[in-house]
């Protein structure tokens, strides 16, 4: 195995991965208002663009989510650079492992007929995971903003509805009037409950992690002031705030964020494949085969007549 050297392309990919995060951190430092103590607030608003109906706020969450997308893009470009038929480099082995795992997950949960959904699920996993992990850098995680997750959920909702229509428009409309027509409003509500519950599950988990970390570090600052406050020089410095929050961030930032990314991807897969079940797919394939058969027969007949 020959060791590959970094060339210019790899260096550019690495820069694409790292520079957006540095830019986001610099913006955060510049725009954070100077204040005593710790405040719990939503995302900071960086710029405001005047629009006809309502001003458009470019907030921290949007800037950070663009940084996350650029990071994932850079990582994908870096991992897939210089692919060979026989894997020679470590990064190719890692890239192949990721692709195989995701495709295995998709095949296992959605069935073979949704095989092409691997990239979407991989993108959801990567962007959600990296967003939640970006709070380790001190940034506001984009997943703690309800707007970002709501966008993803609406995308998933559109996909679910599309696949339900694909299973037959008549069946889709009939599904609202079951078991009796009186239940129609309830069925409509339960239809819209899917994206809402997906949004609030992910958003609430990450937001609670953010709030609890801030409360914990405030409490530790007060506690260290209480215990070590009488020491002349050291006392003014919150000693207990070093290291202890990291143990809690192991759960709240890393474990909880990654589990929620996995669950969001899992629910996406299950909802999409439930909207278009195996039987509907088989029926569709059967109809298509019959149509192709009839067309072939007609063409043969036409050829015979000629």
């Amino acid at each position: 195995m020959t060791k590959k050297k970094f060339d210019l392309y790899d260096v550019m990919c690495m820069r694409l991965m790292i520079l957006p995060f540095i830019a986001a951190m610099v913006l955060k430092i510049l725009y954070t208002p100077a204040s005593e103590g710790i405040q719990i607030s939503g995302a900071l608003v960086y710029w405001t663009i005047d629009m006809p109906l309502q001003p458009l706020y470019i907030s921290e969450a949007q800037v950070n989510s663009v940084a996350v997308v650029l990071f994932v893009l850079g990582l994908a470009l870096f991992l897939t650079h210089g692919l060979t038929v026989k894997p020679e480099s470590k990064r190719q082995i890692i890239a192949e492992m990721i692709v195989e795992k995701v495709e295995g997950l998709v095949d296992e949960n959605m069935g073979e007929r949704f095989h092409e959904y691997g990239p979407l699920i991989a993108a959801v996993l990567a962007i959600s995971g990296v967003s939640s992990l970006s709070s380790l850098l001190g940034l506001f995680p984009p997943t703690a903003d309800v707007n970002i997750i709501a966008g993803w959920s609406i995308m998933v909702f559109a996909l679910i509805t599309y696949y339900k229509f694909k299973g037959g428009a008549l069946n889709y409309v009939k599904g609202y009037f079951e078991p009796i027509p009186v239940f129609a409003p309830l069925n409509v509500i339960s239809e819209f409950a899917t994206p809402v519950s997906m949004t609030f599950r992910h958003f609430g988990n990450v937001l609670s992690g953010v709030v609890i970390s801030v409360l914990l570090s405030t409490a530790l600052g007060g506690l260290s002031n209480l215990i070590f406050g009488w020491i002349p020089v050291v006392g003014s410095f919150p000693i207990l705030r070093i290291g202890i929050p990291a143990i809690f961030s192991l759960y709240f930032d890393i474990f909880s964020g990654l589990i929620q990314a996995f669950i969001f991807a899992m629910l996406t897969m299950l909802n999409i494949s439930n909207g278009f079940p195996e039987e509907a797919y088989a029926l569709r394939m059967q109809k298509r085969a019959i149509r192709a058969q009839k067309k072939k027969e007609r063409e043969e007949l036409a050829a015979k007549i000629q």
């Binding site: 609030f200 609430g204 988990n205 937001l207 609670s208 589990i259 996995f262």
Partner: protein
């Protein structure tokens, strides 16, 4: 005036406390799920991996209702008082 704002803040705090009662259900449910998973692992130790993965998935989904309560509690403590006090002040003007 002060009395009105005081009642408002007290209402927000009591509401946040009541919202967190939603944590009871997920607690019981997750405990039950983990207990069942442990007994399953005890019966068949060889399928520990898949049982653990499924259990963590199920626990995270069962957490949802508790998280709803938590979100409402956080909103009532950190977001709602400002908005309500502003509404009150505007109404008095």
């Amino acid at each position: 005036m002060e009395l009105a704002i005081g009642i408002l803040l007290a209402g927000c705090a009591i509401g946040a406390g009541l919202a967190l009662i939603a944590g009871i259900g997920p607690g019981i449910g997750e405990g039950y799920a983990v207990g069942q998973a442990l007994s399953a692992i005890g019966r068949q130790p060889e399928c520990k991996g898949s049982v653990t993965t499924t259990m963590i998935m199920g626990c995270a989904i069962a957490e949802t209702t508790g998280i709803y309560g938590l979100v409402i509690g956080i909103l009532l403590i950190f977001v709602a008082p400002n908005i309500f006090v502003n509404i009150l002040l505007n109404a008095i003007k």
